[in-house]
């Protein structure tokens, strides 16, 4: 079976800055893969390219062997890629349940006319949307808060909400941008468990994270970027001991410094 996501010679520049500078890597189905690298290495930019937020400067992105670069974000979502954001992006004025129901949008149909007339089939569909969304909310453990405004959630819960919303789109590939940044150790642990459960329901995961403890634990493969280029790729152990990765990213692992990561 081929890769679910294949990135080839991907390039992106903003005016003078080349944020992504010729990158190749693939993600295999049912894998948990991590993208790491120093700040400004281009990780988020790659996510933005995959999800269609930015047009690529050159190179291709294939999802299930189909070229998806150049497509609109919503079409990419329909095709089965969903994501979370580094700076949490929940719809603040909407309730938590509505946030998740919005994720269901691309899997449902009824349009303006049906909505205006409130047809029976529309109501039935709305009911299905609600049920599915509630399921996703309980999957991440937020079902108790479903009617609260999203802005009332604490940071960790907002992250969970983003994941529930992403799951509601029924993705095959989910992109998680720093899922545990700002979380305490026990919360990180919970998140890791959630990530495993997401994989168990058959979803492939590509994540970006700076918490090395977490990355080393969950990911099966790691791609390391620096200045928009891949400088290493392999199992966590391999990259962890790679000289280039240590100088560019991890730093000398004196005992003292090692403790500064969240473990």
């Amino acid at each position: 079976m081929g890769s679910i996501l294949r990135i080839e010679k991907l390039e992106k520049s903003f005016g003078g800055v080349t944020a992504v500078d010729g990158i190749d890597f693939e993600v295999n189905p049912h894998q948990i893969k991590a993208l790491i690298g120093p700040n400004g290495a281009g990780k988020t930019t790659i996510f933005n390219l995959i999800s269609g937020i930015y047009p690529v400067t050159s190179g291709t992105i294939r999802f299930k062997e189909q070229i998806i670069d150049g497509l609109k974000p919503y079409i990419i979502a329909e095709k089965g890629i969903s994501r979370t954001f580094q700076n949490v992006q929940v719809f603040e004025d909407m309730s938590i349940l509505e946030n998740v129901m919005l994720g269901r949008h691309c899997r449902t149909r009824s349009g303006f006319l049906a909505a205006a007339l409130n047809l029976r089939k529309t109501r039935a569909e709305e009911k299905r949307i609600r049920e599915y969304s509630l399921e996703m909310l309980s999957f991440v453990g937020l079902e108790a808060k479903r009617d609260e405004a999203a802005s009332n959630l604490v940071f960790q819960q907002q992250k969970l909400l983003e994941i529930a919303r992403a799951l509601a789109t029924e993705p095959e590939l989910i992109l998680l941008d720093e899922p545990v940044a700002g979380l305490s150790v026990p919360e990180t642990d919970e998140m890791v468990q959630l990530i495993y459960r997401i994989r168990e329901i058959g979803i492939t995961i590509l994540l970006v994270e700076h918490d090395m403890g977490m990355v080393m634990q969950v990911s099966e493969e790691v791609v390391v970027l620096n200045s928009g280029q891949v400088i290493a790729e392999g199992t966590p152990r391999q990259v962890q001991n790679n000289e280039a990765v240590i100088t560019a990213y991890l730093g000398e692992r004196e005992t003292e410094n090692a403790n500064y990561t969240k473990s």
Binding site: S51, G52, I53, K72, P73, Y74, I76, A77, E78, S82, R83, F85, Q89, F91, E92, D93, M94, E98, M101, L102, G103, R104, H105, C106, R107, T108, S110, G111, F112, A114, A115, A116, L117, N118, T122, E125, E126, I129, R165, A166, T169
Partner: protein
């Protein structure tokens, strides 16, 4: 639609239908006809502004396009007013689509300007294309609506016609806001890019709601034309676009009920202020200012909040 809304809607329908029974005076009914016509526009505008978060400073142009298309077709080409109203919907909707497609790519003040410019261009055309529109002098003798042998002639007739349409529009709008589509619109308001990434075709929805709001305005315009039976460009200028936006905001931008309250207030208020002669402009401005300063979310939400606070204190 939520039950609460349905109940309010039924009560509203009951009350509006009963009003003329107790109120025969043609002046009051006439004012209420305008409340209805303005409500039609503001309900559409509140869907666009309050739900989808897109501003339009050119809504008077759609109102005018509806009025002129309807008026010209029925007066100069003998088309029945009903057909003319229908044709106006298509014409106005089509123009809204053509202008909306590029304009809705713009954001915030830029969108405001683009719609304002569009509205102004339409206004200039009303003034200049005198062979069709009668130019600045306008034209009259627009036929009235007719159902079989029944001619809509008096204020009462128009009152019922307009308010039945308002209630239909409300029903449609409430259905939309409580649907998948309404949710998508609100997500656009809250974060367009995020909505897009989550699978919402934001461009499509923005255009659809823009066209819908234009259609509401167009229907209102047709009603206006066949009610007043005379058209000249002045009611369809920039000034009225601003008044419409003001109605929506004063009522409370995020609710179709608010839009109606705003339309009612800003249509009826000037009537009361007539008594103050020249001072009316100062009083009007002050009331507007006070509402916005003390109830920045508009009357609908603002009054609710006040009531809630009162309740909590007790």
């Amino acid at each position: 639609m939520k039950k609460k809304n349905l109940i309010v809607l039924v009560i509203l329908a009951g009350v509006t239908m009963a009003i003329p029974l107790g109120l025969g005076n043609s002046y009051y009914l006439n004012v209420l006809v305008f409340v209805g016509i303005h409500s039609l526009i503001t309900i559409g505008l509140s869907l666009l502004m309050g739900y989808a978060g897109q501003i339009s400073l050119g809504q008077a142009a759609f109102f005018g396009l509806g009025a002129y298309t309807s008026g010209i077709l029925s007066t100069k080409f003998g088309v029945s007013p009903w057909l003319a109203l229908l044709a106006a919907i298509f014409v106005t909707g089509g123009i809204a689509f053509l202008i909306g497609a590029p304009a809705l790519k713009l954001k915030g003040h830029y969108l405001a300007m683009a719609t304002l410019a569009f509205g102004y261009i339409v206004y200039i055309i009303f003034n200049q294309a005198s062979s069709f529109t009668g130019g600045p002098s306008g034209f009259g003798q627009i036929p009235r609506f007719r159902l079989g042998n029944f001619l809509f002639k008096t204020d009462v007739h128009y009152y019922y016609l307009v308010w039945i349409l308002v209630i239909v529009a409300l029903l449609i709008s409430l259905n939309i806001t409580h649907s998948r589509v309404g949710r998508a619109l609100r997500s656009i308001h809250a974060g367009e890019l995020t909505a897009n990434v989550m699978g919402v075709n934001t461009a499509k929805y923005k255009i659809q709601i823009f066209v819908l709001s234009a259609v509401y305005a167009s229907v209102a315009g047709s009603l206006y034309a066949h009610f007043i039976t005379f058209l000249n460009p002045s009611p369809f200028g920039f000034h009225f676009s601003i008044v419409l936006v003001t109605m929506v905001v004063v009522g409370g931008v995020a609710s179709v009920w608010g839009a109606m309250i705003g339309a009612a207030l800003l249509t009826i208020l000037p009537e009361y202020l007539r008594a103050f002669q020249d001072y009316d402009i100062l009083i009007y401005g002050s009331i507007l200012l006070l509402i916005m300063v003390f109830l920045p979310k508009g009357l609908f939400v603002g009054i609710f909040d006040l009531v809630k606070k009162r309740k909590n204190r007790q």
